[in-house]
Subunit: 245 residues, 2 copies
Amino acid sequence: MVTAGVLIIGNEILSGRTQDANLQYIAKHLVARGITVAESQVVPDIEDVLVQRINYLRENYDYVLTTGGIGPTHDDITAHCVAKAFGVSLVIDEAIAERIRGRPAPEEVMQNRLLMARVPEGASLIENSTGGPQGFQIENVYVMAGIPFVLQNMLPNIEFKGGDVVRSKSIKVYLGESNIAAELAQIQEQHVTLDIGSYPFTGESRYGTVLVIRGTDPSEIDSAASKIKSMVVAQGETPEEIDST
Amino acid sequence: MVTAGVLIIGNEILSGRTQDANLQYIAKHLVARGITVAESQVVPDIEDVLVQRINYLRENYDYVLTTGGIGPTHDDITAHCVAKAFGVSLVIDEAIAERIRGRPAPEEVMQNRLLMARVPEGASLIENSTGGPQGFQIENVYVMAGIPFVLQNMLPNIEFKGGDVVRSKSIKVYLGESNIAAELAQIQEQHVTLDIGSYPFTGESRYGTVLVIRGTDPSEIDSAASKIKSMVVAQGETPEEIDST
């Protein structure tokens, strides 16, 4: 299993001001490439916290993706913290500096922009055609922008080496979880390589459940899906396959 | 400062299948009550991970709020993990069992429903009028449902003791961050009790920045806000106050 940890950096998420949209986007992108997001942490712009979490995640997962904190203002401390986590200096990357100088600006503005040319020594750049702040990679850590459209531009430019792709099938049933819990647990036990999740919802003024089967072997997913469907039919309800990846 | 850690439990968030909506809702609710969300972690339904994170969060923050994993199916392991984290047994809560028995169901369904009556020994219930799964509190840990409408029903029934309420003012400017970075850093330095965040965006086909001033003293916020506005006006742009709490 190839794993990733996602670090969402930014006080604005923790204050409730901004709804994070990056975790879901990254997760879908990685899952499609055979990479499992093992966990995500949302942390404030505090140096000690960032350094500690970057080190924890890079030691525990194959990939670490961070979002946020790479602009030119005082609250953009991600590059500094990544450098500190790796015990390297923050250096001016000439390729980035070149690009920045290519867009004329008054001297003071240019000085601020050039703050975005600082990367940890040894980092390589992540291509980004938006003109937004520059992301970079150092070892297994990929540092990206927090602005969703910039992040979404960067992500396809990273070459991930994934494992087997996890596929899924989702079945919607208008039965409460308690109606299916025992049999579902049996089906899960019969298919230990699968991860069967049960997600209740309310709709059409009654409780329903979406059952999500995830695994790398499509035939095993099909086998579990047909058992789930039989269980639902036996209770007089009609299972609806809503999603298959 | 009164702090909280938020634990989002669920594979469906990490697989990208579901967009989490609970963190923002909880954050807004707590911020309005003078509680700072210090961090959030999104973790899968894995016992060791849950136990470790529950203990980490409860030892480090005044409040811990968890969402998800309290239904009756095999993947609902939150109550079990909270009990294990506290080193107590999982016991049937008679008040919950009573409520569950009050809604007639076939014997097998009832047995599954009664799984939702298990809480860690010593826990008290969080009121919930939706009929959904029961949340509970043990010491500083509040265990809630993952379904947003159930969570939103539970949250107002918890009595939080907050600190000074953090207020904020947001100013939108059509200037790139590099145009304001240096002066903004000075303003931040002059107001150390405030947290001034800078959030770039794109709109009307140019870059802009939202500057968010957060702090507990409204007059200090006003003072920083007027300095920010003057800085923007000096650059020939018009600052727009978009939000004030």
